[in-house]
């Protein structure tokens, strides 16, 4: 092999190595990426009080477990690789251990990363208020809730820390017996904190009332619906910029009809 051939060979060798390296790199990346995608295909989980939007939460959380350590009820847990959410992030299962709504919210201040935000729990007087938490929203499955059958059960209503606010019981005549009343629980999305005490208390084999992340169950009406009977909501009309769709001046149109000059050519 002469010198030039040798140079060619090493050059070829080098190119081969680079290609090989790139190959390994992308192979590893694809495998790793695939795994990540799998781990991100989140079922759903409930986050500690004050958690920011889920999308940002999984970015921000540094998985230190300080909130878990701070929780006196062992409600919170860090996700393992088997959990249905990003490994290492804190979550709780309401049916097992719900959030007991500590008044001093011990899990929140230790958070160093900004994944839990004190400002989300501030009430009007700028104090931290656990009742402002929006961890989730309780949803009732009326087919399996025995109260809807006419059997008296108010376990969820009694368990609710915001009784008569987040859960109310409505009465309705039971036409089947003709002499009893249905005592029907109803959740108010405005007040429900998603603590899960209702789900924990529910007497059915699988809970008939379950807490889901709010983004999963909340609808959105869109800004173009205004409650005309609500003075506050009606005020939104004032902020709307009037769209000048039709010009007040219609002389142009009239001129166009009356002015027939254009129809005739000079010749």
């Amino acid at each position: 092999m002469n010198k030039e051939d040798h140079a060619m060979a090493t050059r070829r060798e080098a190119v081969k190595n680079v290609v090989k390296g790139v190959g390994y790199f992308s192979l590893g990346g694809l495998a790793w990426g695939g795994f990540i995608k799998e781990s991100k295909s989140v079922d759903f989980v409930l986050r500690p009080p004050g958690a920011i939007q889920e999308k940002d939460f999984v970015k921000a959380c540094i998985k230190c477990g300080l909130c878990v350590n701070a929780c006196p009820y062992d409600t919170l847990d860090l996700a393992t690789i088997q959990s249905s959410t990003v490994t290492g992030t804190p979550f709780f299962k309401a049916r097992e251990v719900p959030c007991y709504m500590c008044l001093d919210v011990p899990c929140l201040p230790p958070c160093p990363s900004g994944a839990l935000d004190v400002n989300l729990l501030k009430n009007d007087s700028e104090e931290m208020d656990i009742n402002k938490a929006k961890m989730g929203l309780a949803v009732i499955n009326k087919e399996t809730c025995v109260a809807f059958w006419g059997i008296q059960c108010d376990a969820c209503y009694r368990a609710c820390p915001l009784i008569d606010d987040a859960i109310i019981v409505k009465t309705k005549r039971n036409e089947r017996t003709g002499k009893h009343a249905y005592l029907i629980p109803e959740v108010s999305a405005d007040s429900c904190t998603g603590c899960g005490l209702c789900e924990h208390a529910c007497i059915t084999e699988l809970p008939a009332i379950k807490v889901f992340p709010r983004s999963m169950v909340m609808g959105k009406e869109g800004s173009h619906y205004i409650k005309g009977w609500d003075a506050d909501d009606e005020k939104r009309l004032n902020d709307i910029k009037k769209v000048e769709k039709y010009s007040e001046d219609n002389s142009g149109a009239i001129d166009y009809l009356n002015n027939s000059d254009d129809l005739f050519t000079d010749d």
Partner: protein
């Protein structure tokens, strides 16, 4: 000595979880020290930044403290003095030596620079998927969770690494793959605490090269008197312990 440091840090973490001690609360990603300030894993914070979120200042400052600390001292001292996974990989090493197990792949056949690509890839994937990519599979925090919460799946990952190091690739995880170690190699290149080699005392017995988890850093053994300069050196001190000729020692130096 480094075992004591390692154990102490782990005990403090476990104590904080189970007994509510407040000396060192949290885990290897971020810890709250005496409730005064935080320490954060800079690679975790880099991933968070790559995913497009600016974390709160306590975490940022914590990461800067740690980075400066290891910059001044020697980056990979984290690996041999703090990291809990080091127990696992060192015991794999120990068992392999005792039983004379030949791993499937020879250490020198796999490029040790792989970890830098893993590090880079972790950041790229964090940016693509919008959350910290390596933290999802980080066996360091998994081991920690396995100890505290007894999570089995985390233990499996750690066991996998144990057997990987034992049978498949010598120094496989710490020496070739781990991006956290890779990060600290970068940072700690200029650290002041280094192993110093006295060429005139060396008898070329090469015992140090047999025990060293990062053999490539001992390139000057028997050649010249100098510091072990490469950032990959973990300052574990194994070479110093094994040297009978007084040719190796720790030295504080800026060179």
């Amino acid at each position: 000595m480094r075992r004591i440091v390692q154990l102490a840090i782990m005990i403090l973490f476990v104590g904080s979880s189970i007994y509510g001690w407040k000396i060192l609360d949290g885990n290897y990603s971020t810890a709250d020290v005496l409730g005064v300030f935080h320490l954060s894993d800079p690679y975790s914070v880099l991933q968070i930044l790559a995913s497009g979120f600016i974390p709160a200042s306590s975490v940022l400052i914590g990461a800067i403290i740690i980075t400066l600390f290891y910059f001044v001292l020697r980056g990979r001292m984290f690996c041999s003095w703090v990291c809990p996974l080091n127990f696992i990989t060192d015991s794999a090493e120990w068992i392999r030596e005792k039983l004379h197990i030949q791993p499937l792949i020879k250490s020198k056949d796999v490029n040790r620079n792989m970890r830098y690509y893993v590090l880079l890839m972790g950041l790229i994937l964090s940016a693509i998927f919008g959350f910290a990519a390596f933290d999802v599979i980080n066996p360091i925090s998994m081991l920690h969770r396995a100890i505290i919460f007894g999570s089995l799946s985390g233990l499996f990952v750690v066991l996998f690494i144990f057997f990987f190091d034992l049978f498949i690739l010598k120094h496989g995880w710490c020496g070739h793959i781990c991006p956290v170690g890779a990060f600290y190699s970068f940072v700690g290149k200029w650290g002041i605490l280094k192993v110093f080699h006295k060429h005139e005392n060396c008898t070329d017995c090469m015992k140090c090269k047999l025990v060293c988890p990062e053999v490539q850093v001992l390139d000057i053994i028997g050649l010249k008197t100098d510091n072990i300069k490469m950032g990959a050196c973990t300052n574990c001190g194994a070479c110093i312990d094994v040297c009978n000729d007084d040719a190796l020692e720790f030295k504080i130096t800026i060179k």
